[in-house]
Symmetry: C4
Subunit: 216 residues, 4 copies
């Protein structure tokens, strides 16, 4: 009874916000020319932002398989995180609009800064939410899967710093920033403890075990 | 069996409406200039309205941890409340549009009146819904947490009057009105019985206990 | 086990569609003049359509407290019903746009026809869905509340005919049509067996009992 | 415990995306002329895309009555599927816009290619997701309904090839492509094992049994 999952409605509300935000990305695509290739930067922006927000949902889902209790602070941190998620269509549209305009390098840089900055804010808030929930097992279940929790700890530890690098790269050379953002999205799609670790035998590699560990 | 929670679908529908309304706020932001700072009033409006609607969701969630039964009247009151929530993007857009236009003081005042009036309507409907549900424990569970319920009673008692002050301030001096709206949002983010009360020792201060009280 | 409710995801999907459709109504309101009264027909359209779609949700919720099983036909009927719900913002916008233009009586009549026709289609589909589900108790639970089911039967029996009258009135005299649509929305907000019936004593009037009857 | 359904939040998020995507279709309809028949191609596009996306939801729902476990790969495949679902309003709008413009045969063909190509991508992803989940019963429950699973196998086997034909037809003769897309939607609305099969007596035809089979 004491260990009952309390996060139901918080997850449902978050799912709703993720679902609307990810769907609104399509509104950037224009429909006045049947040849969609003519707006390839917008299509590319749609695909990358959709995948990226989707992977953020995957991470949110992963954290909340471990978080079982809520309090006001967690709700507020989650709210700030959702605000950044909802904001993603804006820098996506900016990037899609100015990326093909090679004669406006300043607008391209501003758009890349807005884009990488949005993901930096997301990484900071993901880390803050996770730290808050796991500090002294504050909001985890009594039977929390220690190994999976530590896997996420390790994966999130450098998150904000890595996204800070993307922001700096946006100042220096925009394509490098976008490439690194894509690579980081793939990195965070992988389950935390599936990643190679020091001092641990590679034979123990068990992908996705956090989803199954409750039945062990 | 008799005490089974009946509010599942009402909460799911409300979560959906909150999620869409809070996400639509982003549509106010324009994407034809990569320098987002140039539209700071719109960004400010996005952030404050997002936080405020988010805190309204937090309050809705808090009320429905205690409300366990539904009837037609509650559904209709909840519907009116959702209608006001959905309306929030409109006065937000008005305020973001006219706040920087110092030469149109009348439009600014009308926008501030619409904004504060919307939150007044929200406060009145929150109070009405809560009063209706708690009157003679009409729709609460049998094991309702009396202390948490009374905490919400106290917090909501002055809600409509405080928001009425915001509306009056919007006539007199717009910045004071907006500042007070922000302060009230923070006040309603706090759990009701975490607030200092007369005749109760401050050492009993236990933030967020309403979320955990079911397991006591 | 055999009587397990199978309708969970159908209700969740429907709730999502209702939530988005009801929220999109706000997009009709313009935000280029802070004096919202200048667009009162749009505001009126927002309020009436919001309430009406909300009452449709209430009816959907009511039907699915009794429907416990699903099959492909029910899913398709529900899909058609949702399609009409999603369409509501269109005739609402038409009516809000042309109602104040007294010099275009033909456009007003077309808008009123589209509006009342949409609600006629909704009534037909609600009745078809309910008839399909209740025919020989096809999709009801084993312990279905007969009295509540019969109450809905009675209320829905004349539904399509009453909405047909609204369509005819839209040809003859638009205000009468709109007034009758409002009256019907209120009628369908009432629980079916709370309505006065022939051969039943008025002392048995028990509002909202369908929500509580499972605990009797 | 080991067979507990883990797909709850994945289904909730997918339902949200389906609900928003299907509702956004209505934004294509213009509201500046009360005579809606004047934009019949847009209305036709709304109806066919709504029904088609709705049937895709029905298929998604059907697959996930059998899929009980999740892993990262399934979440990513599901994400790609949702991305294509969300994209549907774009080719729908293109088709509705250019279909009546008989003097632009090239734009019509491009729109029909985008439309049929979107559904081809959807068919490929549905098949991939189903294959991944059912391969060696990877993510099915222990008591998976073999007959229903095989019914879906058979129905999905030719799916991508059939939609490939639609794409080719879009090059040759657009109306034939659209007609075949409609026919395929109806085919995939039918439950898999309700379809006639070789080596099985037609008397065993039991529509929709996959929804009830858990209670056998």
């Amino acid at each position: 009874m004491n260990d009952e999952k309390e996060t139901g409605r918080l997850e449902a509300f978050s799912d709703g916000v993720f679902a609307v935000a990810i769907t609104l990305l399509v509104l950037n695509i224009k429909t006045d020319d049947a040849n969609l290739w003519n707006q390839w930067p917008t299509l590319l922006g749609f695909v990358t932002s959709f995948i990226t927000v989707g992977i953020m949902w995957l991470n949110h889902h992963r954290l909340f398989t471990h978080i079982r209790r809520i309090d006001t602070m967690l709700i507020l941190l989650n709210l700030l995180l959702l605000m950044v998620i909802v904001f993603v269509p804006v820098p996506t549209a900016l990037l899609a609009r100015f990326l093909p305009e090679a004669d406006q390098p300043n607008q391209i840089r501003m758009a890349a800064l807005a884009y990488s900055g949005t993901f930096l804010a997301m990484a900071v808030l993901f880390t803050a939410l996770w730290r808050y929930a796991t500090y002294h097992n504050r909001l985890l279940g009594k039977r929390a899967d220690i190994k999976a929790v530590q896997g996420i700890d390790r994966q999130y530890f450098f998150g904000p710093a890595l996204y800070m690098v993307c922001v700096v790269l946006a100042w220096l050379y925009v394509p490098a920033s976008l490439f690194m953002l894509l690579a980081l999205a793939i990195f965070f799609a992988l389950p935390g403890h599936a990643l190679p670790q020091r001092g641990r035998a590679p034979k123990e590699y068990r992908p996705d075990e956090e989803y199954r560990s409750s039945g062990d």
